[in-house]
């Protein structure tokens, strides 16, 4: 498996998915050799191994790390900044200059070379890679080993930039789709997007939905911002794709109707400053809190203090955060333009652009106690049914279909 590290902080869901899927697969008895890009944003070396030992699946998973400056949600510009800062920190030692590529594409190819070298010394039956940066490595490994390839699509470049403008990345995705024996999408939303915008045989594209990490219950009571005000929460990357602007515009309508509501927009991203300005422009400065970046350890507190969680994403390949909110018993409103809406019934759904409808639903959850309680209770139950084991079971079945002789130990 060519996957990503469990991220130290919440930059995106892909590392989380890779970790839980690997764990669940190993628990089902699959043997996994895991090649992992390992960079400056990752947790300290060996942490994944520790996690694996803690989960008692270490014997089934062997981890190889490849040092790199890239991470899963990077674009060329971000890579440039990362590269420059690493070079400055290390005052440009020659070894680092040789180690890391000057631009992102070069680094993706560096990773592919190193991953292929590792694979040459490993025994495996199937190649399973996750999203575009690991695709060149996976395709090279396939060409040398002639083993079947699964490309697991969490997100597409086309969807992330809402256009086809990133030609090189698009071509790499297209390369992966062409060489893949099976393409696994995390939702029908992604699958439809793939079929509409890429050249790929629909027959080999299947859907395996993501699931939810079973969070341990919080030890501390959630903090309250105010004893009288209700709290509406947005949590995630503050980027155009996540629809923060719609959240703020809906907040304006909610505040007009009910003065005793506060809004929390947690997370960071390239739109953060514009959103702070927008909230101020709409006269919501005293209603809004922007706590900035939050660590995974803060998730409990965030959901615990919220009366309703909103994910107004413009485009969301899957969206794991609503499941986390629901597992904390927080009533949840999601946009219909999300993969996760395919698997959820006990949430409220809106079109992301329908700010008025979003405001209506926020107000209804805040006003009608029985609605709040039932969404909390049933949502909690529903989220807990979506286990990684179910997703892993489907992935295992795909493994068997590509390599029927594999024996589960």
């Amino acid at each position: 498996m060519l996957g990503w590290e469990f991220p130290p902080y919440f930059a995106g869901g892909i590392g989380v998915v890779c970790y839980h899927l690997t764990k669940a697969l190993a628990q089902r008895g699959e043997e996994i050799t895991y090649i992992m890009p390992f960079g400056p944003r990752n947790i300290q070396k060996g942490n994944l191994s520790k996690l694996l030992v803690a989960e008692r699946i270490a014997p089934h998973v062997r981890v190889h790390t490849v040092h790199t400056q890239m991470h899963a949600y990077m674009n060329a510009h971000e890579y440039k900044n990362q590269y420059t800062s690493t070079m400055l920190e290390d005052t440009g030692t020659e070894s680092n200059k040789q180690l890391y590529g000057k631009d992102l594409m070069q680094e993706v190819h560096n990773f592919a070379h190193r991953a292929t070298a590792i694979a040459d010394h490993e025994e495996f039956d199937i190649i399973h890679c996750h999203d575009w940066m690991t695709i060149p490595a996976a395709v090279w490994i396939k060409q040398r080993s002639h083993k079947p390839l699964i490309v697991h699509v969490h997100n597409t470049i086309y969807d992330r930039y809402l256009s086809g403008s990133n030609k090189v990345e698009y071509d790499i995705e297209q390369l992966g789709l062409r060489h893949a024996d099976k393409v696994v999408c995390v939702s029908h939303y992604v699958r439809n997007n793939l079929l509409a915008n890429y050249d790929v045989d629909p027959q080999k594209v299947v859907v395996v939905h993501n699931a939810m990490e079973q969070l341990s219950p919080s030890q501390q009571p959630a903090p309250r911002i105010s004893s009288t005000d209700k709290i509406v929460l947005f949590a995630g990357r503050i980027t155009a794709q996540k629809g923060p602007e719609y959240f703020i515009r809906a907040a304006r309508l909610v505040a007009d109707h009910d003065p005793n509501v506060k809004f929390v927009m947690a997370g960071s991203g390239d739109m953060l400053h514009r959103m702070i300005e927008l909230a101020a422009d709409l006269g919501l400065a005293d209603k809004f809190l922007f706590p900035g970046y939050y660590a995974r350890s803060d998730v409990d507190k965030l959901f615990g203090m919220a009366d309703v969680f909103v994910m107004p994403s413009v485009s969301e390949p899957f969206g794991i955060v609503p499941l986390e909110a629901m597992s904390k018993g927080t009533p949840t409103i999601i946009s219909k333009q999300s993969g996760v809406s395919e698997v959820l019934s006990h949430v409220l759904k809106v079109d992301f652009w329908d700010v008025e409808e979003l405001a209506e639903k926020i107000l209804a959850v805040l006003k009608y106690e029985e609605l709040h309680n039932l969404l909390s209770e049933h949502g909690n139950w529903e989220a807990k049914l979506l286990t990684w084991d179910k997703s892993a079971e489907q992935i295992s079945a795909i493994y068997r279909s590509l390599h029927p002789l594999t024996v589960i130990h």
């Binding site: 019934s345 006990h346 409220l348 107000l363 029985e370 609605l371």
Partner: protein
């Protein structure tokens, strides 16, 4: 055979921002569209077929209807020609019309006064339209218990309909006339749910071992009850024909041939519920201490009153009853009464929502939660109007 004929006045997705802006709660265009669709698929062809069967069999084929006021109002408004076909059936003299609550409501559970008013109004409407005053009562969704039977007896009805629930019958058969516990004269007719559901639910199920069900096979099942019962009560939604079971399932051919196949046996005939009450003596007591209904496996009230959204919304509705009625404002009373229809609470059922089963099929909203939101927003607007009118009266 008794057929339940009903359509509710469905609500719009009335939003919180609409409260105080307008009080047009009901989705007229959706209601009209559904009425035309159901008329085309079910009411018109089935009425025509039943009329033909009545004429052909010259008095040997009869049945009973229970038609709600909410449907009749909509037929009058949107499809008066379809209403005429119901009147044509009434004029044959072989169709009996039963009593029920005008608004197909759960009022018996929340207000005996409102219940009585709705039953009276419905009976008047039956007299007006079909020229007969009902003698037999069926409550919304066959909701029934001993106390209700007693109440209905006191209102002067001769009979009442109920589900033939296994847990109350035990080893006994639903194919006899029973007396509800704690009553003295009223008779209860019990639904034979197996034979009824063979038509209403299983008819088109290709996974059912009896599929496809022919009129002859069904008649044999009816015949096999001879000697072990005196009457078989087939109770079902009228929309079974053409709407729940589509035309291409062969449901109309089945209905067309079934009476002849059944009548071939000399001991069989079709009668109306009042004729059954007159003809058959009581053979045992039916003791329903708790409420039963004809819904779901549970045969209880949980489809309408199973979760807290349903409880909260129906309580909020009946809390307004006294105030609405004291104002004697027809438009307020009408809106309030249309909200008593049980369907509004059924839409809020979360029992098997995730499985996408029958509840979803009948749901006018995306989810039970949206049904609740719209209903509660309407209640708040209604309450606002009540308050306004009360203040006008005080200042006047």
């Amino acid at each position: 055979m008794y057929f339940q004929v009903h359509q509710p006045h469905r609500l719009k997705r009335y939003g919180m921002f609409e409260i105080g802006v307008h009080s047009d709660y009901f989705d007229h265009s959706l209601n009209e569209e559904i009425l035309h669709k159901v008329s085309r698929k079910c009411y018109v062809p089935t009425n025509k077929l039943l009329l033909k069967l009545i004429n052909e069999h010259q008095g040997d084929f009869k049945f009973s209807f229970s038609v709600t006021g909410t449907l009749l109002d909509q037929l009058e408004e949107f499809a008066p020609d379809v209403l005429e076909t119901f009147k044509d059936l009434a004029r044959t003299g072989h169709v009996e019309f039963l009593a029920e609550t005008y608004y197909h409501s759960l009022s018996y559970l929340y207000s005996k006064e409102e219940f009585q008013e709705q039953v009276t109004r419905h009976s008047q409407r039956m007299q007006e339209l079909f020229g007969q005053t009902p003698k037999v009562f069926r409550n919304t969704e066959l909701i029934f218990n001993n106390e209700l039977a007693k109440h209905i007896e006191e209102l002067g009805f001769l009979g009442i309909l109920a589900e033939g629930a296994d847990h109350l019958l035990g080893w006994r058969s639903p194919n006899f006339m029973y007396r509800p516990a704690s009553t003295s004269s009223i008779k209860v007719l019990l639904k034979n749910y197996k034979l009824s559901d063979d038509i209403a639910f299983r008819f088109s199920n290709k996974g059912w071992e009896e599929h496809p069900l022919s009129a002859e096979k069904y008649a044999q099942w009816i015949n096999s009850a001879n000697g072990n019962g005196e009457l078989i009560n087939l109770f079902m939604d009228y929309e079974t024909f053409g709407e729940h079971q589509w035309e291409d399932t062969g449901i109309f051919q089945f209905l067309e041939h079934m009476p002849r196949a059944v009548l071939e046996h000399p001991h069989n005939d079709f009668i109306t519920v009042s004729e059954a009450i007159e003809r058959y003596d009581v053979r045992g007591e039916y003791d329903a201490h708790n409420f039963i209904s004809w819904a779901d496996m549970e045969r209880d009230l949980s489809a309408w009153l199973g979760n807290n959204m349903q409880h909260a919304s129906i309580q909020a509705l009946y809390r307004l009853e006294r105030r609405v009625k004291e104002l004697q404002d027809e438009s307020l009373i009408n809106d309030w009464r249309k909200l008593t229809t049980s369907d509004h609470f059924y839409y809020m059922c979360t029992k098997w929502f995730a499985d996408g089963d029958v509840h979803k099929y009948f749901n006018a909203y995306d989810s039970p939660y949206e049904g609740f939101i719209a209903f509660m927003n309407v209640i708040h607007d209604l309450e606002r109007r009540v308050k306004e009118r009360e203040q006008e009266l005080v200042t006047a």
